[in-house]
């Protein structure tokens, strides 16, 4: 696995290289600043498989660098792991919003590093399989390979992140911040029908339309949104909800109406969006942090819709 590690401290970089090497990762390049890192990404003939970024760097911070990385087509889905000292934990919200996949805390712990890198390897292997499949299918219709039941990163949607990253974000929050978190699910009830009627690119565009309209309706809120698969999104709120969910659902419906002519020309129905009730973490007691996502998503659904992976676990 080809890794890029970015930190302005040469001692830390040396230590990181040692620990990665001891864990079996020897193909590692380093950069001492965000600008040098971007140059390496742009000049590299084969893309990096994983990027490790220090958050607190002079000049371009790790969060800004992460956002720049995500603007590059080759790196939209590459695992980006942020590295931060305890004092930098307050930057983590911004890092996840900028597209980070996971985070590690300094000083580095060998077991933690190995666990995170194990997750990155599994993620990257999965992505390589998808890319290989896309390349095969691409010969026929140049569309990305999609499994209807699987989570997808919705490209180009600000505050839209991967489902796995949303889980990692919740796992990172301390008890007091987790207490303030709430979540709700969003079900595109006719997603299965639309998926069957159109190609994968168009289906991705439909999900992008729903995400854009939804985040527009929530623009006053501090939220992160992820697509969980099977027509389900989940939205995590980091501050109290200031509007009624029914109003938000209505605003989403109105927003999607504006796409009516476009959908008609594609012979597709407008996405039919339903919101679940709000789940507050403060009411969940000592349950594991990611349980809130499962509960937010566990709302009634048509019997013909396949269960996404997380729902099979809940059921």
């Amino acid at each position: 696995m080809k890794i890029l590690a970015v930190d302005d401290d040469p001692v830390f970089l040396g230590l990181l290289l040692t620990m990665l090497s001891a864990a079996g990762h020897s193909d590692v390049m380093t950069a001492s600043s965000g600008h040098l890192a971007l140059r390496l990404l742009d000049d590299s003939s084969t893309p990096f498989d994983c990027i490790l970024l220090d958050i607190q760097m002079p000049g371009m911070s790790g969060v800004e660098l992460c956002a720049e990385v995500r603007k590059r087509r080759n790196y939209r889905r590459t695992p980006v792991v942020m590295i931060t000292a305890m004092s930098g934990k307050r930057f983590i919200d911004d890092a996840f919003a900028a597209g980070a996949t996971d985070y590690m805390v300094k000083p580095l712990d060998r077991h933690d590093l190995n666990a995170r890198m194990g997750m990155v390897c599994r993620l990257q292997a999965e992505r390589m399989r998808t890319i290989a499949l896309e390349e095969q299918i691409g010969l026929a219709n140049s569309a990305p390979a999609l499994d209807f039941g699987a989570p997808i990163l919705i490209d180009g949607v600000e505050r839209g992140i991967e489902y796995l990253a949303l889980e990692n974000y919740l796992l990172m929050l301390g008890k007091s911040r987790l207490h303030a978190v709430s979540a709700f699910g969003i079900h595109v009830t006719n997603a299965g029908f639309i998926f069957g009627q159109t190609d994968n690119w168009n289906f991705m565009n439909v999900l992008g339309d729903v995400a854009t309209v939804l985040l527009d309706a929530l623009k006053a809120q501090d939220v992160l949104l992820a697509y969980a698969g099977s027509g389900y999104f989940v939205c995590v709120l980091r501050s109290p909800l200031t509007s009624d969910l029914e109003q938000i659902e209505a605003a989403v419906g109105f927003g999607l109406e504006e796409f009516n002519d476009l959908y008609r020309s594609e012979h597709l129905p407008l996405p039919n969006v339903r919101l679940s009730a709000l789940v507050r973490h403060s009411l969940l007691g000592v349950l594991r942090p990611t349980r809130i996502l499962e509960l937010a998503l566990a709302m009634p659904q048509p019997s013909d819709a396949p269960l996404p992976a997380w729902r099979k676990l809940v059921a």
Binding site: V11, G14, T18, M19, S21, S87, P107, L108
Partner: protein
Amino acid sequence: MNSANASQSASSQRVAIALSGLDVARGKFLDLIVRRVLDFEAFSAEMRARKDEDGALKGISALCHKISGVSETIGFRRAGALAMELELLIEDERMGKRPGPEIWGQAGPLLEQLMDELESLLDD
């Protein structure tokens, strides 16, 4: 070589790489101590002279951030703990929780302790 022996050998090799890498990192860290202590002294003088206090606190915090990020892993636990405590204290000031001069009342002595600890690492 059977697979169990091969796996044990690879594992021993990784342990050896890790240990030699830690020695290198420790050496680099010790090489930088004199420069860091001099930087700390310069920032400390600025604080005492009440000259660019914000810049001086930022500088101290950034150095502490670097020290706390590696110290524990390379075996300098006390230096790491002191650096982290000092960084968090200064961050309080920077987040507007307490004014700079009040912070310095606590941060100054802590910085002295940190510099003493760093210098003692050179003696060892």
